[in-house]
């Protein structure tokens, strides 16, 4: 069975590698934005930066992205933090403008229930089907029916002849 599965494995790997390479690799020139002088505020700003999606390159945080908009948003976060915003307030400021989409970690609410609970549900389903499969397999063994009288007679006869 393993030998038969091999061509499939090759196809799967090829498709997977294709998807990964097609969605990465964006080259952007570096633009430097200065960090805040207060190390505590800068650390807070960077904590926020890491939670904010770069909307231009999508699966990078604005902390990692060199895009112009990411730079603007980094500066805005620094401004908000300096102005006395809490981390949540600074994040809300961006969510108000760009929606939940800007958060790399989606919030738990009605529209995202499938996203959060889906994997758990699938895991439970897989667990249940595995349990059902193995239970069925074990009961099949247990269900071995005793020989009928006719069979026992035949067996006895055969054994007698042998002996």
């Amino acid at each position: 069975m393993i030998a038969v599965a091999r061509p499939w494995t090759g196809v799967m790997v090829a498709i997977f590698v294709g998807i990964v390479t097609a969605s990465s690799a964006q080259v952007v020139t570096e633009i430097i934005d200065p960090p805040l002088e207060d190390p505590i505020l800068e650390a807070r700003a960077q904590t926020i930066h890491k939670q904010i999606r770069c909307l231009v390159c999508q699966n990078q945080s604005i902390h990692d992205s060199n895009a112009g908009l990411a730079r603007d948003l980094r500066i805005i976060v620094r401004d908000r933090v300096t102005a006395g915003d809490t981390n949540d307030q600074a994040i809300q400021f961006l969510v108000d403008r760009y929606g939940d989409w800007i958060l790399l970690k989606p919030p738990f609410k009605a529209t995202t229930i499938a996203l959060w609970l889906g994997p758990i549900l699938i895991l439970m389903l897989a667990g249940w089907s595995a349990w059902a499969y193995f239970r069925a397999a074990s009961t099949q063994v247990a269900k071995a029916v005793p020989l009928t009288e006719e069979e026992q007679r035949r067996l006895a006869k055969l054994l007698d002849i042998e002996v």
Partner: protein, 185 residues
């Protein structure tokens, strides 16, 4: 080979196809705007030319209008620009320009070269008004109703299809609403 051995590759195929279709149909690059139905942000910007009137959010109240975010450095803006010149010439709806992170002299020259369809232009030099509008990249276009509420957002350059089937119908719908509201009140 037992039939059960086909299940993992089949499941993989189903998931791969589903994800691929999701990529095509759901268009993950088109991020829904958080501002639909929300008032346009407060702003007051100078124009690209000091002799001209700039643009503030109060200009968006009273009439249904289009706000087009553009920049002279933006290539797709050039592609859609003739359509805005056309809309400007038709004169059915004011088109306001938000000149995004541009040099004012470049923007002036760009408009002199390609035509200026804008009723008024605001120069958003540092892109802050763009962020308040949830702009991700230029060009972007908003349709704003007479109360100054954002009612439609189009990401990327418009083509004739988007203009005639998405943007202008929305404008006409909102204009009809405005007239209905006007006669009621």
């Amino acid at each position: 080979m037992r039939p059960i051995a086909y299940i993992p590759p089949m499941m993989f195929a189903v998931i791969a196809v589903a994800l691929f279709l999701g990529l095509l149909i759901l268009k993950p690059k088109e991020i829904p705007s958080a501002l639909i139905g929300q008032p346009a942000p407060t702003f007051d910007l100078p124009s690209v030319d000091s002799t001209l009137h700039g643009l503030s959010n109060t200009d968006l109240i009273g009439l249904v209008s289009i706000v087009n975010v553009f920049a002279s450095w933006c290539v797709p803006c050039r592609v859609e620009h003739p359509l805005w010149v056309e809309v400007g010439e038709a004169g059915d709806v004011p088109v306001f320009g938000l000149n995004y992170k541009d040099y004012q002299e470049n923007a002036s020259k760009w408009l002199a070269d390609f035509g200026d369809p804008y009723t008024a232009i605001g120069a958003d030099l540092d892109g802050r008004v763009g962020v308040d509008l949830g702009v991700i990249g230029v060009p972007e276009t908003f349709v704003v109703d007479a109360q100054g509420l954002i009612q439609l957002k189009h990401i990327g350059p418009i083509d004739r299809y988007a203009l005639e089937n998405k943007i202008l119908p929305k404008v006409r719908e909102l204009q009809a609403l405005m007239i209905a509201d006007g006669t009621d009140g």
